[in-house]
Symmetry: C2
Subunit: 308 residues, 2 copies
């Protein structure tokens, strides 16, 4: 799957992933109204609004982006109905040939991690049959529990040719509380990065490993170090745009080959129509605003990479 | 909710939580056959088998235990249908007045953590209405992302009078890989424990905080230290029984008042009928085997506490 991701990044010339993290207050009123008219102000109604919102954004961007990253929490908060909308979104994106990164940040031990891995990336056995539960292409994983929490995910990835992005240095203000703590003079995130590089070695595609890392755009200096620690790992970079990261902060996350990083933007793209810059599209044409925002982001990153 | 948990622990004299972590190979053949006859070898069939299995265990133990801990991964692996069985299980346990600890090990940042918190412990807004998605009483949370990942969970707990168990030192063999790393001479898990104690201070019930910790039974010496670091936090202790922890390993997790810890057993109780000790019940009467296993576990812990 890392091969497909790289191929699509090259084809679109856009190392961009669109974060499908629908908040109700992003969803234009006309979409909400229609969904509530059909299903009432219910969990089902919310799920329908989310799905219609996602669909329009996907329809307006799928041909110029390589990947999407639905954040499962935004669906899970609406219970079963929300998770149905998550699944519908994943399935639709795969139909559109997008690479789907499930931002699930799961992590547990042994058979429990294996269950998450199977549910999101693999197939589960029922009697003599096998079924995919959610069927994303990549999943994000939390490393706090150590190797025997991560290995079951890696095993499923090997079988299914899928991949992981393991949390190394997250984009939030307090990520340093534990991640930056020094261990023999080296921050914890670097230690985790070294593990990611090790785990990644057993899972190589052609140039890059299936096992990538998450490093926040908000910490470019740490990104520079981690790029070297994990030369063969793709870095998924959240925190661009709304969280404060800019194109020029991103250059150190990329390798000299112009590859090695994929930058996420969620609100900045899916709620672009709310920004002054894209207000001309109006709420009715929010999908076109999202497309324009993707184009601008692609340009911003390309310029930053050209100027380095 | 911590008040209810403590009250029920006192009433049952059993600081025990039954881990409802159904694996297909635990579920007796007669339950599987019936479910597959009705729904086929499908995800729906698997979910039905899980639900019937859980129900029988709950029916045979609910009056002698304070709490259950369904492990969501074991349901999530069966996709939407599995998660419906999770919800049905949570709802049924609450009907039986059990305290439900959702073992979800979620953790993210800001609005994303808030979405998980709302979905599992709170209520989500849809237009002018509010709905509970999954509605557990406690949830387990992964601390790797730091305070701004945990705070949104705490906020929901304050509003809803619910609680958390935050991963501090997990029971698995490789948990030390990151958790035991020394920071200024102090292991990371202790640093996380100190944070749990701090977070807990703002969320006090009468004697104990709503904000507890997870510390594995397999590391009793670390439990001893952490007990002192977090005197007002309840400790959820996994790893008893099948994972190797024994009654005598548990005493240091308790305070002098005989409170402060609740010990989880999953396989040891829900698949008790597979052990030689309880084989006399037979697979048909697996619920009775589970009840006997709870009684033996209660006795084991009580003896260990008496002998300390």
């Amino acid at each position: 799957m890392i091969q497909k991701l790289i191929r699509k990044i090259k084809e679109t010339n856009a190392p961009i992933v669109v974060g499908l993290d629908p908040m109700m207050n992003y969803i234009p009123e006309h979409i909400q109204k229609k969904a509530f008219a059909e299903f009432g102000e219910t969990l089902e109604g919310a799920a329908e609004a989310i799905w219609q919102y996602n669909k329009e954004i996907i329809d307006h961007t799928y041909d110029i982006i390589p990947a999407v990253k639905p954040q499962i929490a935004m669906y899970e908060q609406f219970g079963i109905e929300g998770l149905k909308a998550f699944k519908k979104t994943v399935d639709y994106c795969r139909e559109k040939d997008l690479v789907v990164i499930g931002d699930i940040k799961r992590g547990d031990i042994g058979s429990t991690s294996a269950a998450y891995a199977v549910g999101h990336l693999g197939k589960v056995q029922v009697g003599s049959k096998w079924y995919a539960g959610f069927d994303e292409d990549f999943a994000t994983v939390n490393p706090y529990l150590g190797s025997d929490g991560v290995k079951p995910f890696i095993d499923v990835c090997k079988t299914e040719k899928k991949g992981l992005f393991i949390l190394v240095k997250t984009s939030n203000p307090s990520s340093g509380e534990f991640q930056d703590q020094l261990i023999d003079g080296k921050p914890l995130y670097e230690l985790v990065g070294e593990k990611v590089a090790q785990w990644g070695e057993e899972c190589m595609g052609d140039e890059y490993s299936y096992i990538g890392a998450v490093v926040g755009a908000t910490y470019p200096e740490m990104g520079k170090v981690l790029r070297k620690v994990m030369p063969k790992s793709y870095i998924l970079v959240p925190g661009y745009g709304a969280q404060g990261g800019k194109g020029k902060d991103l250059v150190h996350f990329f390798n000299e080959d112009g590859l090695g990083a994929i930058v996420n933007s969620s609100r900045g793209i899916i709620a672009a129509y709310k920004q002054e810059k894209y207000a001309k599209f109006g709420a009715e044409h929010f999908g076109e605003a999202s497309r324009a925002a993707v184009e601008d982001m692609r340009e911003d990153i390309a310029q930053a990479l050209n100027n380095r």
